[in-house]
Amino acid sequence: MSQLIVDGVSVEIEGRRLVDQVLLDVAPGQFVGLVGPNGSGKSSLLRAIYRVLKPSAGRIVHLGDEVWKVSARQAARRMAVVAQERMGEFDFTVDEIVMMGRTPHKRLLDTDTAADHELVERCLGQVAMRHCAGRLFQSLSGGEKQRVLVARALAQQPEFLVLDEPTNHLDIRHQLELLELIGRLGTTTLAALHDLNLAARYCDRLAMLCEGRLVAAGTPAEVLTAERISAVYGVEATVGEANGLLRIDFRLKQQ
C-alpha cells in the first residue's frame, strides 16, 4: 500500500514541459530521494505534489485522496513542506515562525495553547535550535534558518514531509545531522537532494529525473550506476563501496 502515488504527472509552464509523465510511489515510512541535475524537474514535481503548480496531466494521490481535490487546510494537516522561498522585508521571531506550523490545525477562534507552545519547543529541540527561540529569523545564518523551517514543518505534525534541497546552505555537519534527523523521525519523506553520496547514504529509495522524465527508480545501488550517472549528469563516475556504503566519485569527461 503506497502512501503517495504519482501517476503519469506532467507539469507545463508557458508551453514548456518541465515534468513529463512521471510515475512514482512512496511507501509509508520510507525516505525517498529525488535526484537529478539542475533543471531536471525535481522542484517542479515537488511543487505539483505540494499544490503550487497544477499538473497538466496525471493524478497525485496521497493517503487515498487526490491532493488537488482536498482543501488547502486538509492538505496542510497531512503534508508539510520545506521549500526555498525567500522571506521579504518583514521579520518574525523563531518561535513565531515555528508556531505558524500550527496554522492548519487551528479554527477561526482558536488561540495558541500551552500544548502548542510545548510542541514548538520540542520541535525546536529536535533541530537543536531551542536556544534561538526568541531571536529574529532574519538574523540567523542560512543553516540555522533551514533548521527552523524544518522545525516548522515538524510542528505541523504531518504524515508526510516534502523537502526541496533541505541541505542547501548547510555545512557538512549540519547536512549529516539534518538527514540523520529525518531518517530518525520515521515520517514518510520525499526530498529533492543534490548530493548523490548523501542521497545514497540516507535514502531508502531513489528516483532519478532527467529533462522532466523519470529515468530510474529503486534502491540507491540500483539507481546510482556509473553508466546512468554518466548519461544523466554528463560526467564520468565511479561507483564503489566503502564501509558498507555506496561511494561515488566524479570527474569531467575527457574531450
Binding site: R47, A72, R73, R86, G88, D91, T103, P104
Partner: protein, 344 residues
C-alpha cells in the same frame, strides 16, 4: 524591547479616552475636562446641568463628533495600512501610497458631481468611494505583478502612477462640474479634512471599522503566513487566492468609507504600522488591535494641531500628515533592506 499586550492594550485604550477628552477641551473656547464629561454624560442620560447652551453646542455638536471621527479614521487607516502591507508584502504600502485613496476619491466625486447611486441615500458617497477603491487597488496590484511575482519597486511606482492619474481625474471632474459648490467642498476634502463632522457621519465608519478590524484580527494567523510568502502560506493550509480576494474587498471597503468621510489623509497607514511593529513585533494578532488604538490617538492629536497651530486659520488634517509622512517615507526608503534581487 517588546511590551506585553496585557499592558499595552488597556494603556492605549486609556490614552484614547484621555485624548478624546483633552482634544474636546482644546479650541478657541477652552473648556475643562469635567465640563466635557458632564455634558457628554448629560446628553447620553438625558439630564441637564450648569453650563451654557453655547458650551453644550461646542462640545456636543462641534468638537466631540469631529474628535471621534478622527479616532475612527486614524484607527481605520492604520489597520488598512497593516493589512495592505501583508497583502502586497511591502512595508511601504498604504492606501495613499498605492493610489487606493485616490481611486476612492474619484468614485466619491463622481457620485457627488453626477448624482449617481442616489438610491443609496447618505451612503451613496461611501459606496462610490468603495467602488473606486476596489478598482484602483486591483489595477495597481495587476500592474505590479509581472511573471507571477509581485515586485516591490513596481508596486510603489504603479501606486504612484495610478495615484497621480486618479487625482488628476478627480480635479478634472470637480473643475468641469456645473456644481460650483462641489469645487469648494471637494477641494477641502481632497486635502483630507475632518471639519464640519456631524454625528450622522460616524455610524458607518464605526461599523465598518469594528467589522473590518474584527475580520482581519481573526485572520491574523493567515496574514502572518501570507507575509512569509504565497507558497509558504499555501503549504500551511491557507487558500491564498480566496484570502487575497476577501482582503481586497475588506480593505477597499475600509479605505472607501474612511475616504468618503474624511478625504485622502495620507501616510497614517504607513507611519502607525511601522511604529506598532517596533513595539509588539510582526504577529498580526497583536499588531492589528494596537494599530487601531494608536492610529486613533495619533490622528486625534494631528487634527488638534491642524485646528490650533495656525488659528484662527484651520488647516486640513491631511496637510499635517503629509508634512510628517513624506520625510518618514523617505527615511523608510533609505533604511529599508532593498536587495538588488528585489529591485532588478
Amino acid at each position: 524591547m517588546r511590551i506585553p499586550l496585557a499592558l499595552l492594550l488597556p494603556g492605549l485604550a486609556a490614552a484614547l479616552a484621555l485624548s478624546v477628552t483633552l482634544a474636546v477641551t482644546i479650541g478657541p473656547v477652552n473648556l475643562s475636562m469635567l465640563t466635557v464629561w458632564n455634558i457628554a454624560w448629560a446628553k447620553l442620560s438625558g439630564s441637564t446641568g450648569m453650563w451654557s447652551a453655547a458650551e453644550e453646542n461646542i462640545v456636543w455638536m462641534l468638537r466631540l463628533p469631529r474628535v471621534l471621527l478622527a479616532a475612527l479614521v486614524g484607527g481605520g487607516l492604520a489597520v488598512v495600512g497593516v493589512a495592505m502591507q501583508a497583502v502586497v508584502r511591502n512595508p511601504l504600502a498604504d492606501p495613499y501610497v498605492l493610489g487606493v485613496s485616490s481611486g476612492a476619491s474619484v468614485g466619491a466625486v463622481l457620485v457627488l458631481g453626477g448624482g449617481w447611486l442616489g438610491f443609496l441615500g447618505i451612503y451613496a458617497v461611501s459606496a462610490g468611494a468603495f467602488a473606486g477603491a476596489v478598482v484602483s487597488f486591483v489595477l495597481v496590484f495587476l500592474i505590479a505583478v509581472a511573471g507571477g511575482r509581485l515586485w516591490p519597486l513596481r508596486l510603489v511606482l504603479a501606486g504612484m502612477a495610478c495615484g497621480y492619474s486618479l487625482s488628476g481625474l478627480t480635479s478634472l471632474i470637480v473643475l468641469t462640474s456645473e456644481n460650483r459648490e462641489l469645487a469648494r467642498t471637494a477641494m477641502e476634502w481632497m486635502l483630507g479634512s475632518l471639519g464640519g463632522t456631524a454625528w450622522s457621519d460616524l455610524g458607518l465608519p464605526a461599523a465598518v471599522l469594528v467589522m473590518g478590524t474584527g475580520y482581519l484580527a481573526l485572520s491574523g494567523r493567515k496574514l502572518n503566513a501570507l507575509l512569509v510568502g504565497d507558497e509558504t502560506a499555501a503549504t500551511l493550509g491557507v487558500d491564498v487566492g480566496r484570502l487575497r480576494l476577501r482582503l481586497f474587498i475588506v480593505l477597499s471597503l475600509l479605505t472607501g468609507v474612511m475616504v468618503a468621510v474624511s478625504g485622502a489623509i495620507g501616510f497614517v497607514g504607513l507611519v502607525i504600522p511601522h511604529v506598532v511593529r517596533m513595539l509588539v513585533g510582526t504577529d498580526h494578532r497583536r499588531v492589528l488591535p494596537v494599530a487601531a488604538l494608536l492610529g486613533g490617538v495619533f490622528l486625534i492629536w494631528v487634527d488638534v494641531a491642524a485646528r490650533m497651530s495656525f488659528a484662527p486659520i484651520e488647516l486640513p488634517v491631511g496637510v499635517i500628515t503629509a508634512l510628517l509622512g513624506g520625510p518618514f517615507f523617505i527615511w523608510m526608503l533609505a533604511t529599508q533592506r532593498w536587495r538588488s534581487k528585489d529591485t532588478a
